[in-house]
């Protein structure tokens, strides 16, 4: 069974710059379509930068490239992704009476996959 991680979608300055350049342009698209993984988790799953993983939440599934998070930025078990289409696909619609879907800190599983055929 795949291991469970906690994912934190969040803001990055590159994503902010990309919004200004245009959401269909390279800066934004490349920033939102990569998953940051701690060094320990990269080693455990034998992942290298640019490898692909399948990330599954209770509500959705994405296939995405990975890169190692900056040293010390993420503890093992925590994943980070810049806000965007990919992070939204993992999010549930239920807001628990608050108007806000649980958009940070939810459980996902992650498994290594072969790069999809272009």
């Amino acid at each position: 069974m795949s291991k469970t991680y906690i994912i934190i979608p969040g803001r990055t300055s590159q994503q902010g710059v990309g919004i200004n350049e245009g959401k269909f342009e390279e800066t934004y698209q490349s920033e939102i379509s990569v998953l940051q993984v701690s060094e320990e988790d990269m080693a455990e799953l034998e992942l290298e930068a640019g490898d692909w993983v399948r990330v599954t939440s209770e509500h959705g599934q994405i296939e995405i490239r990975v890169k190692a998070a900056k040293k010390g930025e993420l503890p093992a078990g925590l994943l980070f992704i810049a806000y965007g289409d990919y992070s939204s696909r993992l999010m549930g619609a239920d807001t628990h009476g608050s108007g806000m879907p649980t958009s940070k800190g939810f459980d996902v599983t992650m498994e290594k996959i072969a790069a999809p055929v272009e």
Binding site: I6, T12, K23, G92, A93, T95, M100, S103, K104, G105
Partner: protein, 468 residues
């Protein structure tokens, strides 16, 4: 407008400098930017951060048509007519967005929502909506950013990463400035960052506390207990928060010893398990701290005029977001009248999206439903939301082409100083014309239609028909 013409030749577009322009990319709303403008392009934005520079240098005039209907170029008049028809024919229209436009435009938007009995919500619901709920429940001990700059000697960022989201926060307001009661600037201030991730902001901190994910609520209540002098079990605190009790005790001692403490909090609190319960706990802790010293608490607001949206919607309807106007009077209920819910439950049958991009940010069920209904979108740039819109208006950019008022994250209204004119219409102009046309259409349909009158007292009352 402080405009200095520095050069002009017959071939070259005029080069001018706009002093003290206002950046509206984030809630810091820096109003000290000097822009060098060449024709329809900003070539330099002095003092802007990396995000502000990207904002100013990437908003030259978009060459898309000012209006597209179903993806095909159309006149603005046709777009206004189609938009007004969609809104008046809808039985449950949703109005959403509003955080990246002027308060003048927000005001007219709320009027339209009122005329058509819409469900009105802003991007606040998916950023600091839970904070808005907590403010109502607990109250807010607050101050302006000027007070933080001049007095704050203990600055705590909780679940916020201004180094990436509000890059000038530290230098302009919270850490670096030399203030009246902190004459040595950074040296007189202690900076604490509390987060689950060692963010770029953590590198700036004197103290970084790395929390166990989803334990903000427990950590805040541990601090509340320490503020009240309650003894806690060290092993329990460590298990609950992932942080030693001694670390929390040390933080509490420093907080009590400070003269003017400030919490800035971000979506690390509002988007995580607990949501408004987390922000309530933080506001209560702030209140507790005022028994010992002076402490305030402020949300780090994201979009340039999301604070204006809260203000305008509140002074027009009595509530800051998540307001339903279908019965002719405002009803507020987050979870029921918030955009994400209204769409995911497939309730809205039409929408008007102003200056926001739910097709990129909402959950999949909400996005799928939005895609299936006719909606109108306003944006200076092409976005996933404008791509699927039945009517998409390409609008002039607020602050760069359009004058008006925005509210900084501390509720201070600031005037905009646009850099150059643009042939695309402003949100305000289109909204005013839609409002006028909506009024005409409602007047036309008033006598004959009674099939859905119980759903539309707002409209009926406007036409002199008694509701119920």
């Amino acid at each position: 407008m402080a405009t200095v013409t520095t050069d002009a030749s017959q071939q070259e577009p005029e080069l001018k400098v706009v002093e003290d322009a206002t950046c509206t990319f984030c809630g810091c709303v820096c109003d000290d930017i000097d822009l060098t403008v060449k024709g329809h392009e900003i070539t330099k934005a002095k003092r802007a951060c990396v995000l502000g520079t990207a904002w100013f240098l990437n908003h030259s005039v978009d060459d898309r048509p000012s209006c597209l209907i179903k993806g095909q170029p159309a006149s603005v008049e046709e777009g206004i007519e189609r938009a007004s028809q969609i809104l008046t024919k809808s039985r449950y229209p949703l109005m959403y967005g509003l955080s990246d436009t002027t308060s003048e435009a927000q005001r007219v938007a709320v009027s339209i929502a009122d005329w058509v009995g819409a469900n009105l919500d802003t991007t606040t619901s998916v950023c600091h909506g839970p904070s808005g709920m907590a403010f109502q429940g607990v109250g807010e001990v607050t101050c302006s950013l000027g007070e933080v700059r001049n007095r704050g000697d203990m600055i705590i960022f909780w679940g916020a990463n201004p180094a990436e989201s509000h890059p000038r926060h530290f230098t302009r307001y919270s850490l670096m400035p030399k203030g009246m009661f902190v004459p040595n600037g950074r040296k007189d201030r202690t900076c604490v960052v509390i987060d689950v991730r060692k963010t770029k902001s953590a590198n700036t901190a004197d103290i970084f506390i790395q929390l166990k994910p989803r334990s903000d609520f427990e950590a805040l209540w541990a601090l509340r207990a320490l503020a009240a002098g309650v003894e806690l079990e060290a092993a329990q605190v460590l298990a609950d928060t992932g942080v030693e009790l001694a670390v929390w005790q040390d933080l509490m001692d420093r907080m009590k010893a400070s003269r003017f403490g400030v919490f800035f909090f971000g979506m690390g609190l509002t988007m995580t398990r607990g949501k408004h319960a987390n922000t309530e706990a933080l506001l209560e802790l702030t209140r507790d701290m005022n028994r010992h010293t002076r402490f305030v608490c402020k949300p780090n607001r994201g979009h340039g005029n999301v604070t204006g949206a809260d203000n305008v919607v509140a002074w027009r309807t009595g509530y800051p977001f998540g307001v339903n106007l279908a019965r002719g009077y405002p009803r507020f209920n987050p979870g029921e009248y918030t955009a994400s819910d209204v769409l995911a439950r497939q309730e809205a049958d039409a929408a008007i999206i102003i200056a926001s991009d739910p097709m990129a940010n909402f959950s999949e069920p909400a996005r799928q439903h939005l895609k299936s209904i006719p909606y109108i979108a306003f944006d200076p740039k092409e976005t996933p939301t404008t791509r699927h819109a039945e009517v998409a208006f390409t609008v002039a950019t607020y602050g760069i082409n359009v004058p008006g008022t925005v509210y900084r994250m501390d509720d201070i209204p600031i005037s905009l100083r646009p850099a150059f004119e643009c042939h695309h219409p402003a949100d305000l102009e289109i909204l005013q014309r839609i409002e006028k046309r909506v009024q005409e259409l409602i007047a036309l349909e008033a006598p004959a239609e009674n099939d859905n009158s119980s759903l539309r007292p707002a409209r009926d009352l406007a036409n002199g028909v008694a509701a119920e």
